[in-house]
């Protein structure tokens, strides 16, 4: 396959993997959310993510002949996944889940905004669609980050601590792909650096409004490795749990 095709494929797989894994993490809040509306919100966001992941795997299947979405989503080896470490971490407390959702969705929003103009035409409409869905995720995250950042002394401290934990992981979203140059030169995607820049410009003022101190990205080692198949110890058990039913009877026609 030529480098351009490989570059597009790699980009789509990491996006699909990120959406799938964070979708599963969000779904783990069902029944446990701090209030009923949050349960429903996180369940809805989880559903969107998993559906978007499915759509990307279907596109990969149609355009590049990869396996069907279920096989790609549930039956690959752990080191074949290309998700970033941020999405792999267990939910922890609500503060971590919320700040992760905030940091991740602002990056995704800009990623799909950029892809609306991609030279890879089949992604354009999908990117526009996803962007309109992710907009609701951002509205949700922003409201809660502002509210808890400026809430009580405890809520503020917990949000600040969660931000400091999640920030190096979030910088790992932008781990450069081996095809970065190809993607940029072929006008497929403006690149992880450009995305990171737009992301920082967006989140900084919101964090300020929330009275939260954004860590200095230049002084932090980003959590890289996920895009090359090196994952945290949290991914394997999650994949095991996600795929257990399917592995139990891969030939089943109905569940």
């Amino acid at each position: 396959m030529d480098p351009k095709q490989e570059a597009i494929k790699e980009l789509l797989i990491k996006m699909a993997d990120d959406q799938l894994i964070i979708g599963h993490r969000h779904s783990e809040w069902i029944g446990l959310g701090p209030i009923l509306e949050e349960d429903i919100a996180l369940a809805s966001i989880a559903q969107d993510k998993v559906g978007q992941s499915y759509t990307l795997f279907q596109l990969l299947h149609d355009q590049f002949g990869t396996a069907d979405p279920d096989t790609m989503g549930f039956l690959r080896a752990e080191n074949e996944y290309r998700c970033c470490h941020l999405v792999e971490y267990p939910n922890g407390e609500y503060d971590f889940s919320l700040i992760r959702h905030f940091l991740f969705d602002h990056a995704e929003y800009h990623r799909f905004d950029m892809l609306q103009a991609s030279a890879f035409e089949p992604i354009r409409g999908i990117a526009r669609k996803f962007k309109s869905e992710i907009k609701y995720h951002i509205l949700h995250a922003d409201v809660w980050v502002r509210r808890l950042g400026t809430g009580t002394e405890e809520s503020h401290q917990r949000m600040q601590a969660a931000l400091e934990t999640a920030f190096p992981l979030a910088l790992g979203i932008f781990e450069p792909s081996p095809y970065e140059q190809v993607l940029i030169e072929e006008n497929i995607f403006p690149g992880e650096d450009a995305l990171r820049q737009r992301w920082l410009e967006t989140i900084q003022p919101i964090l300020e409004e929330a009275s939260l101190q954004m860590p200095d990205p230049s002084s932090i080692e980003p959590a890289y490795g996920g895009r090359r198949g090196y994952h945290t110890e949290h991914l394997a058990p999650l994949l095991e749990e996600m795929s257990w039913t399917l592995r139990y009877d891969p030939e089943a026609e109905r569940w």
Binding site: A41, V50, G125, I126, S132, E133, K135
Partner: protein, 163 residues
Amino acid sequence: MVTEQDVWKALEQVYDPEIPELSVVDLGMILSVDVAPDGKAVKVVFTPTFAACPAIPVIKEDIAAKIRELLPVESVTVEVSYDQPWNSNRITERGRQILKQRGFAPPPHVTAEIELEVLHTVPCPYCGSTNTELQTPFGPTLCRAIHYCHNCHQSFEQFKPVM
């Protein structure tokens, strides 16, 4: 011989699985209808309201089944496409009336990206008051938000604006 118009008429009888009466045409989901020159093969392309809508496979099957039931065709192809992604402005006037009759607030016409402001003071589908409040943009399905009317003291659902 089957014409495109016949197919559109048949599609008016394919309904949202959760809101009978609201057709896929009124929802603005149909992107194109093609009929082969001999009238024997039909192709319908539709676009989902949300990528994660669990009704996509059901709607796909319903479209094919309804066309086969009503029209003398030999083959029906139904495809899902995001080339012209769905937005809530695509819901027809008739669709908006049906939503209201069923107790759902229709989405406002939107011209820009959704901000929280457009989700406030949505007219109540029961009493028409705009003394209403957004409870949560995430309702029982991806396409619905939950509001509360301070005038008639009832919760109501809204078909979410999507742009």
